[in-house]
């Protein structure tokens, strides 16, 4: 089931009603959440429910065994088993095909005929997300940051909590399990706030992301040679805002749905395109993934504690693996290396200029102009990366780059292409708007009388229905 699927509101309202009716019956309430999670997932592929149940049971028992052992060697062995199995499952479903293909090509180029078999299997939706959550759980238990949960039911709900099941945000057990075990308190304001976030997420996805993708970005990436350089650049900018609105829209719906049930999920985005450098970008973009990579990969590799050179290498390794996490394709590897390289260069420059990571607020006009230039430059760097991220393969990405220098005509023939340009501008303005404006809008909606909220709802759903003809899936579902 997709958040933009007509069945989702019915499903959510049903679970919402039942959940609050059962709020005083702890076991029934939890069983409902588990059933909801499994039902939600089974809409994609009922067979892969087995995979989720397998990894849930495995990590539950391994975490408990780790906590029960005092002997460091046994603990490490159990942790390694958890990581190996989780990564192994992910590798088999997500990366086996890619690596076997690369190896076969390598063998063939060396004149060898031996070939690895290919597996014709479907990638389970959300596997990258729940695998990372399972790993973080056993690692946290191993590091004694959290005690293991004694309830298999609680852990199963943590893995299968439906609002964030398929595309995050990546949550931590330490954040989620205490909320699950606290007595639920119904709060009208929080429910309406969640409802507002769902509408906002749908607007980002259907009105902005789908329109930008369909009318400006997709065609450019499909065949850049058909377009002038200016139109290609417009397509790249459109994709930057498409992927932001798509993914942050999904996150808003996930956070809103969870909030309606009384749960808080972590924020995943904080206006990433106003970042002044790529370091700041990664503090604002897909925050739950970047903090996961920091806590469970970059810091264990040594982080920035060993030597400057080692820091750069660690950044490169972390971001390359982060790129590969998005998919088994050389484009994601290049994207990861690009970001790793840029982060390393940022560190190098900061070190050379004697600056820390902390960014100073701009006060004078001159400083503000400098900050604006930094934001513009960083945004364009991010867009360079997006070309690799979006293109189907590296040669196609190179074709997009090559076409950027050819001609200056926008060539917007269809009225909807022109409308999409206006939406792109709106998207940029909304992005640049101060945070307090958004919070203000949220507050105003919550305080509105019921009939005014209903009017907003009617207009919003009307607009979504009109524009939902594209039927495009959420981009991050593929990861």
């Amino acid at each position: 089931m997709n958040f933009t699927d007509g069945r989702y509101p019915v499903f959510l309202l049903l679970i919402f009603t039942l959940y609050w009716l059962l709020r005083k019956n702890n076991l029934e309430r939890k069983l409902l959440l588990l059933a909801a999670g499994y039902t939600f997932y089974a809409q994609w592929n009922v067979k892969y429910l087995g995979l989720i149940i397998f990894s849930t049971v495995l990590d539950y028992f391994l975490a408990n065994a780790i906590a029960a052992k005092e002997d460091q060697r046994s603990r490490r062995l159990l942790l390694t088993s958890s990581v190996v199995v989780n990564i192994g499952v992910l590798a088999m479903f997500k990366y086996y095909g890619f690596f076997s293909e690369q190896l076969n090509e390598l063998l063939m180029s060396a004149g060898l005929r031996s070939s690895l078999p290919t597996l014709n299997i479907l990638l389970p939706v959300g596997i990258s997300f729940f695998t990372f959550e399972n790993i973080s759980y056993t690692l946290d238990v191993y590091r004694r940051k959290i005690p293991p949960t004694r309830s298999l039911l609680d852990y199963a709900i943590f893995v299968s909590f439906f609002p964030r099941m398929v595309a995050g945000p990546i949550i931590r057990a330490a954040h989620f399990l205490p909320q699950l075990n606290a007595a639920p308190q119904y709060d009208d304001k929080r429910v309406i706030n969640g409802f507002y976030l769902i509408l906002k997420g749908l607007a980002k996805k259907i009105v902005l992301a789908d329109m930008l993708g369909f009318w400006l970005a997709d065609a450019v990436f499909a065949d850049p040679s058909q377009y002038h350089g200016a139109r290609v650049l417009l397509g790249v900018y459109a994709y930057a805002f498409q992927i932001y609105n798509d993914f942050s829209g999904y996150t808003d719906i996930a956070i809103g749905s969870a909030r309606m049930l009384g749960f808080e999920l972590p924020e995943n985005f904080n206006r990433p395109y106003v970042a002044r450098n790529l370091q700041e970008f990664w503090h604002r973009w897909h925050i739950s993934l970047s903090t996961w990579l920091r806590d469970y990969l970059y810091i264990p590799l040594g982080g920035s504690r060993i030597s400057p050179v080692r820091t750069y290498v660690n950044l490169l390794i972390t971001m390359t693996l982060g790129g590969l996490w998005h998919g088994a394709n050389w484009t994601f590897v290049v994207w990861g290396v690009f970001h790793g390289g840029m982060l390393a260069i940022t560190r190098l420059v900061q070190r050379a200029m004697g600056q820390g990571e902390e960014l100073q607020p701009a006060v004078t006009l001159r400083e503000k102009a400098w900050v604006a230039a930094q934001i513009f430059f960083s945004f364009n760097l991010v867009c360079l990366g997006w070309i690799f991220f979006r293109a189907p393969d590296v040669p196609s990405a190179m074709r997009v780059f090559a076409q950027l220098g050819h001609g200056g005509s926008l060539g917007l023939g269809h009225p909807y292409s022109k409308l999409a340009v206006i939406l792109l501008l709106i998207s940029a303005v909304l992005h640049l708007a101060p945070l307090r404006w958004r919070e203000g809008a949220e507050e105003r909606f919550v305080k509105m009388p019921a009939h005014a909220q209903a009017a907003v709802f009617v207009v919003a759903v009307g607009a979504f229905t009109l524009l939902s003809g594209q039927g495009l899936p959420f981009l991050y579902f593929q990861f």
Binding site: G6, F16, I192, F195, G413, A454, A455, T465, G471
Partner: protein, 365 residues
Amino acid sequence: MEKEEQAARAVATQRLPRLALVMIWAAAFVLVLEFPVALIGSRIQNPYARPERAAVLRAWKELGGRGCDVLFIGDSRAGAAFTPSVMEAEAKRAGVTLRAFNLSGPSSTVLSDAGILDYVIDEGARPSLVIWGLGKRQASLLDLGLFQRNEATFGLVSDLSLRAPDWYNVCTWGFYATGGIRQIMQVPCQLLPQYRNELAAARRNRGIGWADESSNWGREYNKTKMPNSPQTNKQWQEAVAHLSKEKNAVAPFTREPLVAEAMQFAVERVRSVGGQVVFVNMPLLSGRTAVEREHGYDDYLTWLSRRAKAQEVRLVDLNTEKGRPADSAFKDTDHLGPQGAEKLTRRVTRGIILPHLRAGGSARQ
């Protein structure tokens, strides 16, 4: 004890949750909004209106199967692109009197097109020329005459594609909006007389045995006439699932032997009554074409060229760089708007139909 009673009283008198109130208000707004939208919408002429296939067939049957010189067939793209009245007027200007029918229907496939041709020929049609509008989607699908109508749900509008902004569409959009909310909120849709009329019309269409909206006819036809077609319910369900997936995404081109077989069958059927077929690769918005290229469009085109060559049928590709109408001529990514359709019909009449008739095809000079 007193405290417990107070708590119980508080629960009993607790007002309705805010979300429930919002939903009740929303339902009320929808019901109130629909009346003016329906009223205005029913009084504005639809510039995109095309008679439904069932209605065209009824008109044709009323003529007793006579007077049919040119037939257009294909899916909604051909339905939106070819205007028989424009063609007839253009031919008349050239001194040729002919009658044309556009039997294209939304979501039609090669198989259902073949079925339609077979039926009209059985009923006595003797077309001199059949212009067959083709596309990748049509050639990839196996289902037969399956078309989910939206009228039953939405009232007067007939499809959910994005359209050029104009006053007619402001009203149809109103229907989408209120219809969408009604669908989400499961509010019964038979409150307005228009809906009842539409539903009655849909039932009448089913009654005459021609049913774009019903796959029953297709199933029956399939059982009796098409070899190697899906026969079981499961196969039909798969075809339906395939279709709904196709409708929602850019799908790859799948080379189905049965599609080629159906094309061969249709072309031979037309030839058996002295007619000729021309395959026309239908134009798409330039951006849409570029996206389709990622999903096997070139394979489809190669396949279509081979089919045309093997069957000795003329192929006209209207989706080339130079041949494709300007993007502004389209009302959405796939369908031409009224002016675009008029221009294209004139082009096709002058470039294909009149030369064919002058070269020996029969028509009333």
